[in-house]
C-alpha cells in the first residue's frame, strides 16, 4: 500500500527518503506495510461506525442551512518524538505566558503601547479590542485560560506557529475521541509505543476552571455556556460537560441578580461561580455588547466586573489572536518575559502598513491573504491557486479596508501518509495542541489535534473546508520503537 507513495518534495513526517521511514515511525511503517487492504478497510469501518453511532459530529453552515457531519478520521497516527515535543511544549508555554501578560497590559497600564513596541493604532483598531475591559480586574490576571495554538512545519521540518487561538478554540473533544477509537482499532500497535496519555485533560480543564473561582470558593459551581444545539461545536460542549460532570447551560438558563449569576434549576436559582463560555464576546451580554443577542445573559458583564463570576476565556482576548497583532508575539515574548522566542512565527505582511501593502498587492499570486478576524479557513485567498478575478477581488478588499488583512508567504506544510481509498498518499497536516493556563504555569496536553487536508494538493486543513483528523502520539522517550512481537488483531466480538 506504500508502493505508490510520493514524497512530493516537501517535508514528510514518516519518511526521510523514499522507502526509508524515520526511526520513530519504523514500527508503524512495518505494521502498516504488512496489513492487507482488507484488514485496513475493516478497521476503518470500525472507526467510522464508532463515530457515527455516537453522533460525534460538527455542523457545517452554508447559507442558512446547517448539516451535521462526521469529522473524517484518518487511521494512521502522527508521531512526535519526545525531544521535539519538549521544544514545542516550552515554546507554547512561553508564548501563552506572553499572551496573557499582553492582555493584562493592554487592558491596564498599556506599557507595550507607551513604549511603542506595538503601534497603539493597531490595538485600538482591532475589532476584538474590548474597551469595556479597560481597567477591569480579572481573576488571577489570567485572560487566556484555554488556548489552541496552530503549528505547522515548513520544508525543513521546522515547527512554526501559524496562529494563536485565544478566544474559544475547539476540537479537543476530537482529540480525546480519536485516541479512544485508536486504542480499540490498533490496540497492539498502540501498545508497542510508549505514548503519553491525554485522558487527564478533562480533569486538568476542570482544575483550570476552578482555579479562577471567585473568593476562592471551596467547591465552586462551574458551568459550560453553549450557544445551543445548532452551534457547530455543540457536540464538544456537551462532551466536555459530560467529561467534567458539570452543567451545560444556555444563556436563557442563567440570570443575573444583584451582580451575581444564577442558573435556573428545578429547585430555584443556584449560584454560578465559573462560566466556561463557548459564546463569542459579541453575544455574551446584550446589555453591553450586541443588543440583539439572545444567546447571552443580560447584566453578565456587571457580575464579571464585580468579581462574582469568572469568565473563561476572559472577554477581549480576541485582541491577542488578531492576525495583524500576531506578528508582534515574538516582540511580546521579549518585552514581557525577557526571553528569545523558542518557536518562530510565519513571516507576515500587515496590510495596514503602507510598504507591506504595496508588496502584498504586487505579489498576490504567491501569498496567502487572510482576513484578520475570521477563523475556520473563511475569508482567505490562496494566491497560487487563485484566479485573476479572485485576486482582483481581494486587491479591492485590501485597498478598501487594509486593517482587515494580512498576507503570508505560502508555507509548504509537511505531509503525512493518509489512507486514501485503497492506498497511502501524502496529505498536508498541521497540529493544534491545547494549553491550559494556571497563571504561574501552563499545562500543555501532550499531543493535540493533527488536522489533515484530505483533498489532494490542498493546504487548508479546516474541518469546514474538507479536513480530517488524526490521532497524535507524543512519545515518552526517544529511541527506536521495539519490534512488534504480536500480530495485530481486530478485537473479537466486534462486528464490523
Amino acid at each position: 500500500m506504500f508502493s505508490e507513495y510520493h514524497l512530493n518534495g516537501i517535508f514528510d513526517e514518516m519518511f526521510e527518503a523514499a522507502g526509508e521511514p524515520r526511526g520513530h515511525y519504523r514500527s508503524v511503517y512495518t505494521r502498516l506495510a504488512a496489513l492487507s487492504n482488507d484488514a485496513f478497510q475493516r478497521r476503518r469501518r470500525m472507526a467510522d461506525l464508532s463515530f457515527k453511532n455516537q453522533g460525534i459530529t460538527f455542523t457545517v453552515y452554508s447559507d442558512t442551512t446547517g448539516v451535521e457531519k462526521i469529522f473524517p478520521f484518518d487511521l494512521i497516527p502522527r508521531i512526535v518524538p519526545s525531544n521535539e515535543w519538549e521544544t514545542i511544549e516550552k515554546g507554547l508555554s512561553q508564548r501563552l505566558m506572553a499572551l496573557n501578560a499582553f492582555c493584562r497590559d493592554v487592558y491596564h497600564e498599556q506599557r507595550i503601547l507607551r513604549e511603542k513596541i506595538i503601534p497603539a493604532e493597531l490595538i485600538y483598531s482591532a475589532k476584538m479590542f474590548r474597551r469595556e475591559m479597560l481597567g477591569l480586574q480579572v481573576p488571577r490576571d489570567i485572560y487566556i485560560h484555554i488556548c489552541g495554538t496552530d503549528l505547522i512545519r515548513d520544508k525543513t521540518g521546522q515547527y512554526l506557529v501559524l496562529e494563536d487561538n485565544g478566544r474559544t478554540p475547539s476540537g479537543v473533544s476530537y482529540v480525546l475521541e480519536n485516541r479512544a477509537v485508536m486504542k480499540r482499532v490498533f490496540p497492539v500497535l498502540f501498545g508497542a509505543y510508549r505514548v503519553r496519555g491525554i485522558e487527564d485533560y478533562p480533569h486538568n480543564l476542570l482544575h483550570c476552571l476552578q482555579n479562577v473561582a471567585p473568593q476562592a470558593r471551596e467547591d465552586p459551581t462551574v458551568v459550560i455556556l453553549t450557544p445551543g444545539i445548532y452551534n457547530s461545536a455543540y457536540f464538544e460542549h456537551s462532551f466536555l460537560a459530560r467529561q467534567m460532570g458539570v452543567e451545560l447551560v444556555e444563556g436563557r438558563d442563567l440570570i443575573v441578580d444583584n451582580n451575581s449569576v444564577y442558573m435556573r434549576t428545578v429547585a430555584g436559582l443556584r449560584k454560578v461561580d465559573v462560566i466556561y463560555r463557548r459564546v463569542d464576546d459579541d453575544f455574551l451580554d446584550p446589555l453591553t455588547f450586541r443588543p440583539d443577542s439572545s444567546l447571552g445573559v443580560p447584566g453578565l458583564m456587571n457580575a464579571y466586573r464585580c468579581g462574582n463570576v469568572a469568565l473563561v476565556n476572559a472577554v477581549g482576548t480576541g485582541v491577542a489572536d488578531d492576525k495583524a497583532i500576531y506578528p508582534y508575539v515574538p516582540d511580546m515574548i521579549r518585552f514581557y518575559l525577557n526571553e528569545e522566542p523558542i518557536l518562530n512565527n510565519v513571516p507576515t505582511y500587515i496590510c495596514s502598513r503602507e510598504s507591506d501593502r504595496k508588496y502584498v498587492l504586487e505579489h498576490l499570486h504567491e501569498l496567502v491573504v487572510k482576513s484578520t478576524n475570521e477563523s475556520g479557513g473563511y475569508g482567505m485567498l490562496m494566491g497560487h491557486q487563485s484566479t485573476s478575478a479572485e485576486r482582483a477581488k481581494f486587491a479591492e478588499m485590501i485597498k478598501k479596508d487594509p486593517r482587515n488583512f494580512i498576507a503570508q508567504p505560502i508555507v509548504e506544510l509537511s505531509q503525512h501518509p493518509s489512507l486514501i481509498d485503497d492506498r497511502f498518499e501524502g496529505r498536508r497536516i498541521d497540529l493544534r495542541p491545547y494549553l491550559l493556563s494556571f497563571g504561574d504555569k501552563v499545562v500543555v496536553m501532550p499531543g493535540g489535534l493533527t488536522r489533515v487536508a484530505l483533498r489532494r494538493g490542498s493546504l487548508v486543513v479546516n474541518s469546514s473546508q474538507g479536513g480530517g483528523s488524526k490521532d497524535t502520539w507524543v512519545l515518552e522517550e526517544d529511541g527506536e520503537s521495539p519490534p512488534l512481537l504480536q500480530p495485530e488483531l481486530v478485537p473479537e466480538g466486534v462486528t464490523v
Binding site: I229, D253, R264, L269
Partner: protein, 344 residues
C-alpha cells in the same frame, strides 16, 4: 469493552456523583423528549392498527372507512379545519394514502411521526450530557430511519413494516431509559412525561372511538361492533392483556373498565395516573423534601378517585364527560409542573 460502556465509565465526571438540582430547561427537555417519543409510539400503533383493521373488515363497512381515518386525526385533535377536509377528500385509497403520508412524513404536521421524533431528538440533543449514550444512539437511529430517501423507499415498500420498526424503536427507548439512566430527577421527569402523554392519548383514543360508534349506531351490527372495540384495544396496545383477563368478553363496559381502571396494566389510565403521581412525589422529595406541590396534589386526587371508581360511576357521569374530567386534571397537572419546575 465497548465504546459506550467506556463512555459511561467516564460519565460520572471528575467531580464524582453529586445530587444537585437539575436545570429547569433540562428537566423540561427530558419531560418533552419522553412525551414526544410516547406520542410517536401511539401514532405508529394507531396507523398500523387502522390500516390492518380496514383490510380485515374489507367491504363490510364502507360508510365507516372514512370515519376511521377521521378517527386517526381526531385522536390528535387534527380532525377539523381545511387541512382535514382536504385530507378526507376522494376515494378511500386516496384518503388512506394521504393520511398515512400526512401522519408519517409531513413536515408541517408536528404530530407526524417524523415531527414527533424530530422534536424528541432536538430535546434529547439539548440534554445529551444528561441522558445515556444508549438512549441518544437509539433515538438518533430512530430519527434517521424516518429521514431521507431510504426511509421513503422503505415506506413505499411497506408502510406497516416501517410503523412496526418505529414502534419497536420507541419501546426500546423506553426500556433503555429505565435501564441505562439513573433513576434520579431526570428519569423521574421522563416518567411523568411518558405517563401524562400516554394517559392523555388513551383518553382521546377511547373518546374518539366511542363517539364514532355512538354516531354510527344504526349502521353497525353486533359482530362488527366487537371488531371495533377490539381495534380500540389494539390502538391502545392492550388487546392481549385484555383477553387474558376477560376471556371471550368484548362488552363495551368491560373494555372501558379495563382501559380506564385496570390497576396492573401499564397502558391503562389508572396505571398511568398512579405512575405519574408516584414520580411527581419522588421528584418533590428529591428537590425539596417534606413539601408538596400543586402537581402532586392534582395527581394525588385523581389517583385516589380512580382507585375507588367503578364502572357504574363512569356510566353515571357519561364516558365522554368522565374522560374529559381526567384530561382536564392532566392538563392542570402538566401546567402545575411547568410552574413548579420549568419556569424558574
Amino acid at each position: 469493552m465497548t465504546q459506550s460502556q467506556m463512555m459511561n465509565g467516564q460519565d460520572r465526571g471528575v467531580t464524582g456523583v453529586v445530587n444537585r438540582p437539575m436545570l429547569s430547561r433540562v428537566a423540561d427537555a427530558m419531560y418533552w423528549m419522553s412525551r414526544y417519543v410516547e406520542r410517536a409510539e401511539h401514532i405508529s400503533r394507531i396507523l398500523v392498527e387502522t390500516s390492518s383493521l380496514l383490510t380485515d373488515i374489507g367491504d363490510l363497512a364502507p360508510a365507516l372507512r372514512r370515519e376511521y381515518w377521521r378517527d386517526v386525526l381526531r385522536v390528535l385533535g387534527l380532525d377539523s379545519g381545511e387541512v382535514a377536509e382536504e385530507l378526507l377528500k376522494g376515494t378511500d385509497e386516496e384518503v388512506a394514502f394521504r393520511i398515512c403520508n400526512f401522519m408519517t412524513f409531513e413536515p408541517d404536521n408536528p404530530s407526524s411521526l417524523l415531527g414527533c421524533l424530530t422534536l424528541a431528538r432536538e430535546n434529547a440533543r439539548s440534554v445529551r450530557e444528561n441522558i445515556s449514550a444508549e438512549m441518544w444512539e437509539n433515538l438518533n437511529t430512530l430519527y434517521w430511519s424516518l429521514r431521507g430517501d431510504e426511509a421513503q423507499a422503505r415506506y413505499d415498500e411497506s408502510a406497516q413494516e416501517l410503523y412496526r420498526q418505529v414502534l419497536l424503536g420507541t419501546r426500546l427507548f423506553a426500556g433503555l431509559t429505565d435501564q441505562t439512566l439513573a433513576h434520579g430527577q431526570g428519569w423521574l421527569f421522563t416518567q411523568i412525561g411518558k405517563s401524562l402523554e400516554r394517559l392523555d392519548l388513551v383518553c382521546r383514543t377511547i373518546a374518539a372511538r366511542s363517539m364514532l360508534l355512538l354516531n354510527a349506531d344504526m349502521a353497525i351490527d353486533s359482530d362488527e361492533r366487537n371488531i371495533h372495540w377490539m381495534s380500540l384495544l389494539r390502538n391502545c396496545g392492550s388487546l392481549e392483556a385484555y383477553r387474558r383477563i376477560h376471556v371471550g368478553d368484548m362488552e363495551p363496559e368491560s373494555v372501558v373498565a379495563f382501559l380506564v381502571l385496570e390497576r396492573r396494566f401499564p397502558q391503562s389510565i389508572r396505571y398511568c395516573v398512579h405512575h405519574a403521581h408516584d414520580a411527581a412525589v419522588r421528584v418533590r422529595a428529591e428537590i425539596d423534601p417534606h413539601t408538596t406541590d400543586q402537581a402532586v396534589r392534582i395527581l394525588g386526587r385523581l389517583n385516589t378517585q380512580l382507585e375507588y371508581a367503578d364502572v357504574g360511576e363512569i356510566e353515571r357521569i357519561g364516558l365522554i364527560a368522565y374522560l374529559g374530567q381526567i384530561r382536564a386534571a392532566t392538563t392542570d397537572a402538566a401546567e402545575a409542573l411547568r410552574n413548579s419546575y420549568f419556569l424558574h
